[in-house]
């Protein structure tokens, strides 16, 4: 039987990631927009509009984790310890915002204020943590014998912070788009204004992150014909990750660079689950990957297409994975 199971599972997980980003993206986005609304009544309406679906949306996240565990255990075992802090922070933030849906309805005045804050802060922090996970994943993870062997703070860098900011803008745009679609009148007008703010923010951050990705991975830049960008990995993207800090550069210099990284068309989606897209390439890295331009898929808020077009070259020239 010639079923290419890694490819099939990569596709399943890519779909899970895409669904998660689009679906939980809008309900997290609604939470991000929570502090900017005009009245408590509007907040109730915003929350009520996502209350029936958030649980189903979050199931895609469980599918991403469970599917990665089942289909690509090495990636799962390598990435999650490397991204320990942001993953745990994401889970805690998702807990606080998840329980807020029911608790807010049951609480009295003070409790309601607490759960309103928990929903807004939880949504924002979960998004930031997902962005840091994604940024840390695109940067790469230091491995030794298939297990994480880097510094626990490797995921934190200007690049991952930039990605996190981009994700906040993207989810806010999705949330605004959802509210434009599902509400009317004053709240809808407000959501329209939010969308108008979010669109340029997403566009700018998209451009900046796309450019920064070229700096982080000169191999990708080379594939796009930016020969000038090509530098040796040790001086190039590492230096860019921590431009001002010589000590950090020194810290990373001594490390054996058994780095496994990749940037695949799906890397702009949610990271642990997008890794399978690159994971099979560990075995196919001998083949010459073709840069592919994804046609923008116009989701109503457009944020997800930004995600997809940013890192388009599936290069793994510089690294063939965990050796």
């Amino acid at each position: 039987m010639s079923l290419d199971l890694p490819l099939i599972w990569a596709a399943i997980l890519a779909i899970a990631v895409m669904m998660y980003v689009m679906l939980d993206g809008f309900d997290l986005g609604v939470g991000i927009l929570f502090p900017f609304t005009g009245s408590p009544a509007e907040r109730d309406l915003m929350m009520a509009s996502v209350a029936p679906v958030w649980d189903g949306n979050e199931t895609w996240l469980v599918l991403g984790g469970g599917g990665l565990f089942a289909a690509f255990p090495f990636a799962y075992a390598a990435l999650l310890p490397a991204l320990y802090a942001p993953v745990i922070v994401m889970l805690l933030a998702l807990i606080l915002r998840g329980v807020a849906f029911e608790f807010r309805l049951r609480a009295r005045a003070r409790g309601k204020a607490l759960w309103t804050a928990a929903f807004a802060a939880g949504s924002l922090v979960a998004t930031l943590a997902q962005g840091l996970v994604l940024g840390g994943f695109i940067q790469g993870v230091t491995l030794k014998d298939g297990q994480f062997a880097g510094d626990p703070w490797d995921w934190l860098s200007p690049y991952s912070a930039l990605v996190a900011a981009g994700l906040v803008a993207g989810y806010a745009l999705l949330g605004a788009g959802w509210l434009v679609w599902r509400t009317e009148g004053e709240l809808q007008a407000r959501a329209r204004r939010w969308a108008w703010i979010a669109v340029p923010a997403v566009a700018v951050l998209l451009a900046v992150v796309s450019f920064a990705t070229l700096l982080v991975h000169p191999e990708v830049a080379a594939r796009w014909g930016w020969r000038g960008c090509r530098r040796s990995p040790s001086s190039g993207w590492r230096a860019w990750r921590w431009p001002p800090s010589a000590s950090c550069a020194a810290r990373t210099a001594g490390r054996s660079p058994a780095r496994w990284w990749s940037s695949s068309p799906a890397t702009w989606a949610w990271p642990p689950a997008s890794s399978p897209m690159s994971y099979p390439m560990r075995w196919t890295s001998g083949r010459r990957p073709t840069p592919t331009m994804r046609s923008p898929c116009c989701w109503w808020a457009g944020a997800s297409c930004c995600r997809r077009s940013s890192a388009t070259a599936c290069g793994s020239t510089g690294s063939s994975g965990a050796r």
Binding site: A41, D44, S49, A51, G56, Y76, Q147, A149, P152
Partner: protein, 465 residues
């Protein structure tokens, strides 16, 4: 106890999973209870069933939400804290968890929306179907999780590759590993017991205040019917499970019973103070021969003691011993409560039997305590292995630092303490109000059922209020 990354990871996993199991063990039973209530309402058109349904669905919504968010943690924590285990065991365990997501979670998540938000929007046929499907989803979820855990307790149907990876060769044997069927029944019965005790306690609380409340009387009788039947069955299931522990995990059984020496006709220790360092019990209160009779079914049978295993292969004894006794003691109390309640139902005067009602209130949390104790027996008793006989817990941990794990453990403790206390307060508040508080809500102008989590929303999300 040395607090290294391993011990902290164990503490964190134990805490988060013990906290998580509280909610499934309640919602598995409650979903089935809701399906029965709605079915009975549609069949008899007795308004009391409808009121009870709309009352308990509010509590279900809170508990289910807490179960979802604490469950998401589990699917990532396996990777963050147990990456060596993940890499080795995922080819066998991973698909079971993936099947759970695909078969159970999506079923639940899809129909939960209809169940909680569709009372006025879909017909009764579709609504009851949604409730039944959510109930089935919770049971399917339990199926896969207990299957995965049972495989780790008594692995079968796998091969071990040269690089230490495990690979399934017979999925039938992996899914239906030898201890799975009995453990699944044991867990589902535990969930039904837990739920019936909570329903009983809530109804008893109301009856103490308003003995004439028809809905609470009805719910009390349903709860008694459930635990009076299920509690004795649970003893049988537990006994069968114990026999399998003797066969597949003799060290765990020796720890459960605090047997140190291997000998025929083991005594049953009612209480004891096991001392691991001295490899004996400091003191014990025992019944001769009964230990062998209970564990092996024969008073003369030879049963292995802990000294038959190397010291590094012995599980912690005192914790397993006492957790088991707590579970069994509560189980016996549940049987007693069932007999008492059954007698009162038969003789009449249930709603005014104040001492029984007080006892039923006191037993409300017993199911949760028994479930957690039972899992402590299962999980601590299989130490030092995470996959029995194959992978030691100490070898399974992620390359993370103790500092990071202690920070995350403290964060989990703080967040869970907050959401647990809030959740308990809101549920108890609802229970104190009782099912009739919802009736007033239902009669008011709002077109929503009182169980509606979306009371503030317009009927159509596009509609302006």
């Amino acid at each position: 106890m040395h607090l290294d990354a391993l011990m902290l990871s164990r503490l964190q996993f134990a805490f988060t999973i013990a906290f998580h199991i509280i909610f499934p063990s309640f919602t598995i039973g409650l979903a089935s209870f809701l399906a029965v209530l709605e079915g009975l309402w549609l069949a008899t058109r007795n308004e009391a069933f409808k009121l009870l349904y709309l009352f308990w669905i509010k509590i279900f919504a809170i508990s289910f939400g807490m179960g979802v968010v604490t469950g998401v943690v589990m699917s990532y924590e396996i990777g963050t804290n147990w990456s060596v285990y993940s890499a080795a065991a995922a080819p066998v365990i991973g698909p079971l968890l993936a099947f759970e997501v695909l078969t159970a979670f999506f079923l639940e998540a899809s129909f939960l929306g209809v169940m909680l938000f569709g009372w006025r929007r879909v017909g009764p046929g579709l609504h009851v179907t949604a409730t039944v499907l959510v109930a089935i989803g919770t049971l399917v979820s339990a199926f896969w999780i207990v299957s995965a855990n049972s495989w780790m307790q008594a692995p079968s149907g796998y091969v071990r590759l040269a690089n230490g990876m495990l690979r399934a060769v017979d999925w039938g044997q992996v899914i239906f590993s030898p201890t799975f069927p009995v453990r699944f029944v044991h867990m589902v019965l535990a969930a039904f017991l837990t739920t019936s005790l909570v329903v009983g306690a809530a109804s008893a609380w109301r009856l103490l205040k308003a003995p004439d409340e028809e809905e609470s009387r009805l719910a009390m009788k349903m709860a008694i019917g459930m635990f009076a039947i299920v509690a004795p069955l649970q003893v049988l299931a537990g006994d069968m499970s114990g026999k399998q522990v003797l066969q597949f995990q003799p060290a765990k059984l020796a720890a459960i019973e605090a047997f140190w020496e291997t000998r025929p006709g083991q005594a049953f220790h009612i209480v004891a103070w096991p001392d691991r360092a001295a490899a004996s019990n400091r003191w014990e209160v025992s019944i001769p021969k009964l230990g062998s009779l209970i564990t092996a079914g024969d008073a003369a049978a030879q049963v292995k003691g802990l000294k038959a295993f190397a010291p590094e292969d012995r599980p912690p004894v005192a914790l397993v011993f006492w957790a088991f006794r707590l579970m069994v003691g509560l189980g016996l109390a549940m049987i007693g409560l069932g007999l008492w309640g059954g007698l009162l139902c038969w003789r009449g005067g249930l709603a005014r039997a104040r001492w029984f009602l007080r006892a039923a209130v006191a037993m409300g949390p017993a199911g949760f305590v028994a479930v957690i104790s039972g899992w402590v027996v299962a999980e601590v008793g299989r130490q030092p292995y995470v996959i029995y006989g194959l992978l030691r817990t100490a070898d399974a941990v992620s390359p993370v630092r103790a500092a990071d794990v202690s920070a995350s453990l403290i964060a989990f403790l703080a967040v869970y303490a907050l959401i647990f206390s809030a959740g308990v307060v809101y549920i108890l508040r609802l229970i104190a109000e009782g099912p009739l508080a919802g009736a007033a809500e239902a009669a008011s102008i709002t077109p929503r059922p009182p169980g509606y989590a979306l009371a503030a929303a317009p009927d159509d999300p596009g509609e302006r209020r």
